[in-house]
Amino acid sequence: MMLYLAKDKLDVFFEKASEKLNVYVPVDNTNGSAYRKWTPGTVVSKGLHTTKSAKDFFFPQTENLVEFKMSGKAIEIIDPRRETEDYAVFGVRACDVRSFGILDKVFLSDPVDTYYKNRREHGLILGLSCGRPAETCFCGTFGIDAAEPMADVDFTEADNGYYIKANTEKGEAFVASLGDIFEDRDAAPAEEAKAKTREVLKKLPLSNLTTDGFGGDKLDELFDAAGWADLSEACIGCGTCTFVCPTCQCYDIRDYDTGHGIKRFRCWDSCMFSDFTKMAHGNPRLTQKERFRQRFMHKLVYFPANNDGEYGCVGCGRCLASCPISMNIVKVMKKLAKEDSGK
C-alpha cells in the first residue's frame, strides 16, 4: 500500500504545505521552466526539466557574504544573513536529487560552508519520478534510476494522481504533518509506471554510455589525450554548461562598491571563462583547450578521485540541450573512450 494524491488534489496539497513552509514548483516560461514560489493559481510545469537545475536553492547564483558600511573614515562590518525559513522544492527529478549529494560532498565536508548548510537544513526535497525522459538523458550511466528519485519524499505519477513515498525522517514527518489529504492505495499502478519508465530508459540513444575508461585513476591517460584539441576547437568559452549544470559548484568572491560601503558576495564562476583562476601572473590555463579539459577532467577524474569514485555528473542532459555549439560531456566521453580503446 502507498499514499496517493489525486491530480485534482495537487493544489490542495500545495495549499496545505504552504501553510507550513514555502513551496517552490517548476513553472513554464518562454521555451523552458523555472522554479517559482507556489501561490494559489500557479500552474505546475509538465516539462521534464527546469532550464536551470535546482541547485540555486542551496547554492544561489549570487549571495552576499558580508557587508562593510563606510561613513567617512569609519568602517562597520555587517553580517547580512537572515533567519532562513523552511521551504520545500517540488518536482525534483532523480538526477537533480543525486546532484545535491554531490554538492554536499563539497560544501558539507570540512570546512563546512555554513551558508550552504543553513539552506540545506531548511530545505525539503519533493522528488518526482520521470515519465517521459528525453534523448539527452543519461542518468543511468551514473547509476541513477529516473523512476526512483530518492528525495525526502518521492512522487510517482500514475493512475491520474501521484503515489507518494517518504524516504527520509524529514520526509516522513512532513507527510505525516499534512494528515488526511492523502489516501491509501494499492501500490501496483506506481510500480507499473516505474517499470514503464525503465523500459523507455533502455531505449534512449545514450543508454549504452558507460564510464568505462574514466575515474580517479585515469588522470595520466586522459590529461594528455589527443582528443582535447579537437573537442575544444569550437568552444566559445561561455558558461552555459556550468550554469545549467546541477553539480558545478565553483564560485568567485567579489566586492561590490555601493558608493557608501562594500557588499562582498560570491557568485557562480565557470572554469570555461578565460579569467577563471586568473592570478597575478596570469592564467595557468592558457587556452580554451586547457579550460575545456579542466571541466571534464573534474567531473570524470578529479571528482571521483577525491570522492570514493563518485562522478561529478548526474546525466541530466541540460548541457547537451543548451551548449551553443553542441559540444558536451557525452561527446567528450565517447571520443576519449574511443581514443583510449584505440591505443
Binding site: 567617512g72 573614515k73 562598491d257 557608501h260 587556452t287
Partner: protein, 663 residues
C-alpha cells in the same frame, strides 16, 4: 593610498555668504584619504596659494582639491601653485562651489550640502588622477587675418610691425571694408578715406603682408600653432600680376547696367570694375554674373583694350593651402535688411534710405558727387527725418535685441553735417535714448542739438507714408511733450541695426570657434580675454565680436595683434596633456575611433604581441598623436572595449564623480 588636501575658499562673501565653508571643510576632512582640509578667505590670493603650497610640502599631499570658483576661472592658478610646490599640476581638481552653488542658491543648509557633495566628487576624481606631463608642439610663425576691413588691416599692420608674416583674406576685390564707404567719421569729422587709405596702401607695400583679395576661406584644419587653411582665390578673370589698374577696361566695357554695390546700388558700374579709386589691390575684376563674354562668349572688349594683356576669361578658382600659427577673425558687420519694416516704407519710396546710403549720398565719391539730393527726383531735401533704432533693441521676432552702438553717433554726425552744409534744411531725429558713452561723444551730440539746431525728439515713428506730392508723411509721438506729430519730410533716413557678416557662421564652424545667439563670435572671457576666442589660436578683431565704432575697433584690432604676436613669439607651445590614449593590450584595431576623430589624430600600427597561449602575433592597434589630439573624447565612447580613454577625464574618473554625486 592618496594623501589629499582640501582647500575651501570663501571668495570673500561670494561663497561664504551662502555656503558654510567651515562645515564644508570639516565634512570633507572626514573623507577617506583626506589628510588636511582648511578654509580661507581668498584661495587665489598669494597667501591663499601659499597655504596650498605649504600644505603640499607639510602633508606630502598627492592630490589637491580646491573648492572655489569655476575651474574656467582659476584652475590654472591652482595648477601653477601646485607645480611650484613640486606636485604635478594635474593632480589638482576644482569643485565649483561659487558659480554652480553659492551664487545660485539662497538656502545656506542646501548650498552647504551641495558644496560638500561637489567637494566629494572632486575628491573622488582626484583619487584617480594621474600625473600628466604636457608635450610640446611647434609654432608656425605666420598669421592669417580673415577680413580686410579696418579691423583686419590694423591687426595685420601691427603683427607685421612685430616682424611676423601676415596674410589677409578679403572676399571683396579690395580691402578697406565698410569704412571705405563712409564720408566723415565721428566725433572729429575727419574724412574716412583720408585716414583709411594710407593704411590700405601700407598693407599693400609691407613685405610681410600678403593680401588675398577676392578670396575666401574654404577649410581649416589643425590647431593652435599649426593651422592649415585652404584659401579659395575666386576667379576674377584678370591676372593680378599683370593688371596695372589703369581702368581702361572699366570705361570701355559695354555692360553698363550693373548695380554698383559700393554705392549700395544707387548707381551702376560696368561688368568689369574696380570698386573705387583707392582700391587695394588696384586690380580690375570681372563680374561673371553680368559679363557678356563669360555668359555668351561674345564680346571680349576688355581683353582687346587691355594693353597689359591681363584679361583671362579662362581663369578658374584657385585653392591655396597655407599654414598659420594663429588666425584672426575680422569679418565685420553689415546693416540689416530693412525691407521688412513696412511702417517705414523703405521698399515703397526711394526717399526712405538707410544711414549707409545717406553716407554715400554725402560722399564726394558717391553717386551724387557729395551733393545731398533726393534719390527720387534729384532735388535738394528741405526736411529730413532720421529714425533711430531700426531693428536694434527690438523683440527677437522684429529685429535684434542688442543696441547697435554706432547709430546714435553717426546720426548726430549726419544731422550736424546736413545742417552745416544746408542750413535751410530742417533735421529731425527720433530716438528711444541717445547713447554717447565715449570720449568727446556727448559733447559732439550736444553740438548737434545746441549749435546746429537739430530737432531731437524722444519717441518712435509709427508710420511713414509716401504722399502724392512726393513728400513723406511721418507720424510719430513725442514722448516728452506727450503729443502726436505729423511731419512732411523730403527724406527719411533709417539707422538700421548692424549684424555680423553672413560669412561668419560657416567660418565659425570651420574654426570650431563658438558664437553667441546673434552670431557674434564669443570671446574667451567677456572681461579678461576679450580678443581671444575660446578656441586656442583663434583671435577676434572688430565688429565680428560685437557692435563697435572705429576707435574701439582699432584698439581691439591692436589688442588682437598683441595676442597673436605673443603667440608667434614662442617657438613651441605646451600641449594640452588631457588627450586620448589607447591601451594596446585592449585595443582590437577595429578602427571605429579613427572614424570619429575630427583631427585625424589616430593612426594604426602593426605591433607584435604575446598572445594568451604565449605565441607571438602581430596585431593592429590604435595609436594617438598627442600633439594633434585635442581631447574631445569622441573616440573613447566609440571604443567598446574601453581601450581608448582620456587623460584627465577618464572613464573611471567620471564614474567616480557620478558615484560621489549619487550616493
Amino acid at each position: 593610498m592618496q594623501r589629499i588636501g582640501v582647500f575651501v575658499c570663501h571668495c570673500g562673501t561670494n561663497i561664504a555668504g551662502t555656503v558654510d565653508v567651515k562645515a564644508v571643510a570639516e565634512a570633507l576632512g572626514r573623507e577617506p584619504s583626506v589628510v588636511t582640509s582648511v578654509d580661507y578667505q581668498y584661495m587665489c590670493s598669494e597667501s591663499g596659494q601659499n597655504l596650498i603650497k605649504d600644505a603640499i610640502r607639510d602633508y606630502k599631499l598627492t592630490g589637491v582639491v580646491v573648492c572655489s570658483c569655476s575651474p574656467r576661472m582659476h584652475e590654472n592658478t591652482f595648477r601653477k601653485a601646485a607645480a611650484a610646490a613640486g606636485l604635478n599640476p594635474y593632480m589638482v581638481e576644482i569643485a565649483n562651489i561659487r558659480e554652480q552653488c553659492s551664487w545660485i542658491h539662497k538656502d545656506v543648509a542646501e548650498a552647504t550640502e551641495k558644496a560638500i557633495i561637489l567637494g566629494r566628487a572632486a575628491i573622488a576624481k582626484v583619487q584617480l588622477n594621474a600625473p600628466l606631463v604636457a608635450g610640446e608642439s611647434p609654432v608656425i610663425k605666420r598669421a592669417l587675418v580673415i577680413g580686410g576691413g579696418i579691423a583686419g588691416i590694423q591687426t595685420a599692420l601691427d603683427i607685421a610691425d612685430a616682424g611676423f608674416e601676415v596674410d589677409i583674406v578679403e572676399k571683396q576685390p579690395t580691402i578697406g571694408g565698410k569704412m571705405t564707404q563712409l564720408d566723415k567719421t565721428f566725433p572729429t569729422l575727419d574724412c574716412a578715406a583720408c585716414i583709411l587709405t594710407p593704411k590700405m596702401v601700407e598693407c599693400a607695400q609691407n613685405e610681410l603682408i600678403n593680401i588675398y583679395s577676392y578670396s575666401e576661406v574654404d577649410a581649416v584644419s589643425g590647431f593652435v600653432g599649426n593651422f592649415s587653411v585652404k584659401i579659395r582665390k575666386k576667379a576674377r578673370y584678370v591676372d593680378e600680376t599683370k593688371c596695372t589698374g589703369c581702368g581702361l577696361c572699366t570705361e570701355k566695357c559695354p555692360q553698363k547696367k550693373v548695380p554698383n554695390e559700393f554705392n549700395l546700388g544707387m548707381d551702376n558700374r560696368r561688368a568689369v570694375y574696380i570698386p573705387f579709386a583707392q582700391a587695394v589691390p588696384k586690380v580690375a575684376t570681372i563680374d561673371a554674373d553680368y559679363c557678356t563674354m563669360l555668359k555668351t562668349g561674345k564680346c571680349g572688349v576688355c581683353s582687346k583694350v587691355c594693353t597689359a594683356g591681363a584679361i583671362n576669361y579662362k581663369q578658374t578658382d584657385e585653392i591655396v593651402e597655407r599654414q598659420y600659427g594663429a588666425i584672426v577673425v575680422a569679418t565685420g558687420f553689415n546693416p540689416i535688411k530693412v525691407d521688412k519694416y513696412d511702417e517705414y516704407a523703405y521698399g515703397q519710396s526711394k526717399d526712405v534710405i538707410t544711414s549707409l546710403e545717406f553716407e554715400r549720398l554725402t560722399n564726394a565719391a558717391g553717386p551724387t558727387s557729395g551733393k545731398l539730393l533726393r534719390p527720387s527726383d534729384g532735388k535738394h531735401p528741405h526736411k529730413i527725418v532720421f529714425i533711430q533704432c531700426v531693428g536694434s533693441r527690438c523683440t527677437p521676432e522684429k529685429g535684434k535685441s542688442y543696441c547697435s552702438k554706432i547709430c546714435c553717433m553717426y546720426t548726430a554726425k549726419h544731422a550736424m553735417l546736413t545742417r552745416e552744409k544746408y542750413p535751410d534744411t530742417e533735421v529731425y531725429v527720433f530716438y528711444i535714448d541717445v547713447r554717447t558713452p565715449g570720449k568727446n561723444f556727448d559733447e559732439f551730440y550736444r553740438r548737434a542739438t545746441e549749435e546746429y539746431g537739430v530737432h531731437y525728439i524722444k519717441g518712435m515713428v509709427g508710420k511713414v507714408s509716401p504722399k502724392a506730392d512726393g513728400t513723406l508723411e511721418v507720424q510719430a509721438s513725442d514722448l516728452i511733450m506727450n503729443e502726436q506729430l505729423r511731419i512732411d519730410a523730403d527724406l527719411v533716413v533709417l539707422a538700421a541695426a548692424i549684424e555680423p557678416d553672413k560669412s561668419a557662421r560657416p567660418l565659425a564652424t570651420m574654426l570650431t570657434a563658438s558664437m553667441d545667439t546673434n552670431d557674434f563670435f564669443t570671446e574667451a572671457h567677456p572681461k579678461l580675454r576679450p580678443v581671444e576666442s575660446p578656441t586656442a589660436g583663434i583671435f577676434l578683431s572688430g565688429a565680428c565680436q560685437g557692435p563697435k565704432d572705429i576707435p574701439e575697433t582699432v584698439s581691439q584690432a591692436g589688442a588682437a595683434a598683441a595676442k597673436v604676436i605673443g603667440l608667434l613669439a614662442k617657438n613651441k607651445l605646451t600641449c594640452n596633456p588631457c588627450v586620448a590614449h589607447s591601451d594596446e593590450l585592449l585595443c582590437n584595431g577595429c578602427s571605429q575611433c579613427a572614424n570619429v576623430c575630427p583631427y585625424g589624430a589616430i593612426t594604426y600600427i602593426e605591433k607584435e604581441f604575446v598572445m594568451p597561449d604565449r605565441s607571438k602575433k602581430i596585431r593592429r592597434v590604435a595609436s594617438v598623436n598627442p600633439a594633434v589630439c585635442q581631447g574631445c573624447g569622441a573616440c573613447t565612447v566609440t571604443c567598446p572595449s574601453g581601450a581608448m580613454d582620456l587623460h584627465g577625464f577618464s572613464n573611471r574618473q567620471i564614474m567616480a564623480e557620478v558615484d560621489a554625486i549619487c550616493k
